[in-house]
Structure formats: structure tokens, C-alpha cells
Assembly symmetry: C2
Homo-oligomer: 254 residues x 2
């Protein structure tokens, strides 16, 4: 049985709490937040507190707060030599106060406030300054059905950056597609199977191998037609830049 | 029973042939291609020909050839007043020779040469110059398990353009993420659940509502960190432009 204390009450903290509460091998001994208000819903299920000086003993302290608050919160902890981890993709592990053993437990997934999370689809990136911390962090991930990956700080930084491309930026392309279809009165919904299949294809093929379309084919006629249809300068700029990027990746047509 | 003749032997033609061959209510009476070579595999299952003057009678002639070849092929057809359709997203319906009844049967999906296609996930965009052609084209789509959508030419053009954003361009973002992770020795595979979830989320939320991340939050610190990690000018350009696009879409932080 792994005992944990959760600190913070945001999206990730809440989803982790729910997953831990369901797991047989994890016990949430306490849930801390600066304000008790956001924890009230759970007060009958877990010991809640807003008093940082009053934290219970646990195997792992999970600091799941905003990036800017991690360092400060770790300094305020009233104990030493225990295992503390943050859950951020971009905060340096050394930002955690060194009086404790330090680690990272970074779930690389997008969490919505109200949607259920399927934790079998949440890879956990694990980092630890003390080698001895790895096994228990791996166990904690396994206990909630996650695959875990031991990575270093540079790798986490690059995964966090890459995640912005495949998540935020890909989603913005969906948004642009939404605007383009709406301007002609076409249904955006017609594109949803294609969106799903584009993501699914990556399971079998590398993105390099999966590429198709006018940019890769250097199909100037279609590219010209598309550019003439675009009415928004930002969309035109993105079309041109991503077309160029595809052509850089795939080289000249022979 | 709908009888069809397929003209062309590319990806789309071949996947359509396979779907029609399996369908109870469709009969492929002939398969034409300029060269018989690519049709040899199927010669025991269907009448194949490379002689355009020798086409059999059918309810629908499906011209599934490269965009540039559609107009010419339609002119060569040795009959009139029959229903001919092309399968392209970007060829104007009027490019088909007017001696026949003209339509479009455009499957909006990405087809790989060797992968099986799940036609229940292929929306068919239907266009026809003669009203009377709509029902049989809809029936043909239904016969292979597809949802069909009646659209006009402008809508097809905008869907084809939007498809480039959600398919080719999104895939290029996956490719860039692959390059970024590889440069630090992190596994690209760790990102695959996020890629899938980003596409899945669109089923429930509009892309506008689904957006998260540093660009939307105007999180200058993280954006600066990300820009400092990018080593490739093209990647930097794309990061900046899509960040700007997200901020344009979502407005200023209050």
C-alpha cells in the first residue's frame, strides 16, 4: 500500500485524487489546498486541510499546483527527507526544495475538468534525483493503470514542447478547419472521421510515412486553388508555412 | 441493384472496388484502366478492360483518376446521357463533359494503399447537376455503409481545403513532434495517447472549447522556455505563428 498526500486542487490534482481513491494499492491520507473551498466536495472521503504545518506522514507528497507555485510550496513543507514530486511538464526538478527527496510524476495527457479520464491512456513520465525513488513512483503509476516512462529533465522538456504541437497546435488546425467549413455553410462534422483517422494512422505508420496531400506532391495547381479560397491572412500564413515545412521534410519532387 | 463501371486504378478506385464487390446491392459490371496491368489481380472477379470504346452499360460510371485526367477521360466516353461522377475533392463538376449527366462522389477520408478501409468511417460528399441523380448516389453510398452528405461545389472546395489542415498539416505537426522528441532521445510513442485524445475530444467539444495550453493562457514564461528549446528555424516559425493564431482566436487574457 502506497500512502500519498495530494497538494493542490486543480484539474490534474483532482483527476489524480479520483484515480488514487479507486486504486486498491493506494491510500490518500490527506488532501491539502491553500483554500478548503475546492475540497469540500470530498471532505467525507478524505482528510482535507488548508494548514501546511499540519501535514500527515506519507510515502509520497504530490505537489500538483500551478508551475509558478511549485518552488514556493516545496519550501513551505514542514519536514525533510521525504519523497516529494511535482506533476508539471515544464518545472525543473531542482526547483523543488532540496531538503526533501525530489521527483517528478508528470501525466502526459490533456485533462478536461468534467470529463472522465481513462488512466490506461495516460503515460506517466517519471524523474527522480534519488535512484531509490524510482520503484515506488513506478508502482504508483501502475496502481492507477498507467504506463510509466523513466525520463530525464531534457526529455521531459522536449515532450512538453512536442505536446504543444500535437495537442494545442493540432487543435488550432481543427479550429481553422471549423472556420473554413462554416464560411461556406458546410458541416464541420463531416471532417471528424478524417480527424480521427489521421490520429489513428500514427499507431501504424510514422508521421513521415503517413504524409500525403498537395504539399508533399508539390501539386501547385491545388495549392494555388486553396490559397485563392483562403480569406483570412492568418490562415493563409499557416497554409504557406506548413506547406513549406512538409516540402522541407519530404524534399523535392523527382 | 446498382450497376457501376469503375474507371481508374488508383487508391480510391481500388478501395471503392473492394467495397462495391462486398456490397449486396452493388454490381461492378466492368473496371476500366488505361493500362490493364494494375487490374490483373482482379481479372477473375470482374470484367476488366483498357478499351474505352468498349464500356458496358451501367447505372453509374465512376471516374476515379488523378485530378488532371478527369476532364479528358470524361470527353473520351463513347456514350451520352448516362450518369458519370468523379471522386475528387477539388475538380469542378463542370469539368466533366456535358454530354452526360454529371455528379461527384467524393469520399472525404485518407486512404492508404495497403490498409483496410472501414467505410462506416468514410463520409461521402455528393453533388449532382441533375436533381434526379441524388437518390441513386445516396443509395450507392449507403450500400457500402457510408454516410452521405449533399453539398454544393463551394462546400466541397472548402471541405477539401479544411481537410488539408486537419490531415496533412496536423500530420506535419506530429512529424515535428517526432523530431523534437528524438533530438532529446525521448520516445515519440509517449505522445500517441495525447494525439489520440486530442482528436477524440472533438467528438464532444468544439475545437474552440477544447483549446488549452500556454498560448491560450498567455503564459509568457512557458512560451519563452519552449522557444529557447527549439533548434530548427522552421519549427520556431510554426510555434510562433500558431501561438499567435490561438491568441487571435481566444482574445486577450483578462
Amino acid at each position: 500500500m502506497i500512502s500519498v498526500v495530494i497538494l493542490g486542487a486543480g484539474n490534474v490534482a483532482t483527476h489524480l485524487y479520483k484515480a488514487f481513491a479507486k486504486a486498491d494499492d493506494v491510500s490518500v491520507v490527506q488532501w491539502y489546498n491553500r483554500s478548503l473551498k475546492s475540497l469540500q466536495t470530498y471532505k467525507n472521503d478524505v482528510d482535507i486541510t488548508s494548514d501546511i504545518t499540519n501535514l500527515k506522514e506519507a510515502d509520497i507528497y504530490i505537489l500538483s499546483v500551478s508551475d509558478d507555485a511549485v518552488a514556493d510550496l516545496s519550501k513551505q513543507l514542514p519536514f525533510e527527507n521525504r519523497l516529494i514530486v511535482h506533476t508539471s511538464g515544464s518545472v525543473n526538478i531542482h526547483d523543488l526544495d532540496k531538503k526533501n527527496m525530489r521527483g517528478v510524476f508528470y501525466p502526459l495527457q490533456t485533462f478536461s475538468k468534467n470529463a472522465e479520464v481513462d488512466f490506461s491512456e495516460v503515460p506517466i513520465c517519471i524523474e527522480a534525483l534519488e535512484k531509490t525513488s524510482h520503484p515506488i513512483l513506478k508502482e504508483l503509476a501502475q496502481a492507477i493503470g498507467c504506463k510509466s516512462h523513466r525520463i530525464n529533465g531534457d526529455q521531459r522538456a522536449s515532450l512538453h514542447l512536442a505536446a504543444v504541437f500535437v495537442n494545442n497546435f493540432a487543435n488550432q488546425l481543427y479550429r481553422i478547419a471549423h472556420e473554413i467549413t462554416e464560411s461556406s455553410g458546410a458541416e464541420f462534422d463531416i471532417l471528424k472521421p478524417l480527424i480521427k483517422e489521421t490520429a489513428r494512422k500514427i499507431e501504424e505508420l510514422s508521421p513521415y510515412m503517413a504524409q500525403t496531400g498537395p504539399a508533399k506532391r508539390h501539386d501547385k495547381k491545388t495549392i494555388k486553388k486553396h490559397l485563392s479560397l483562403l480569406e483570412n491572412d492568418m490562415h493563409t500564413g499557416i497554409y504557406k508555412l506548413l506547406t513549406k515545412s512538409i516540402q522541407q521534410t519530404h524534399g523535392k519532387k523527382l
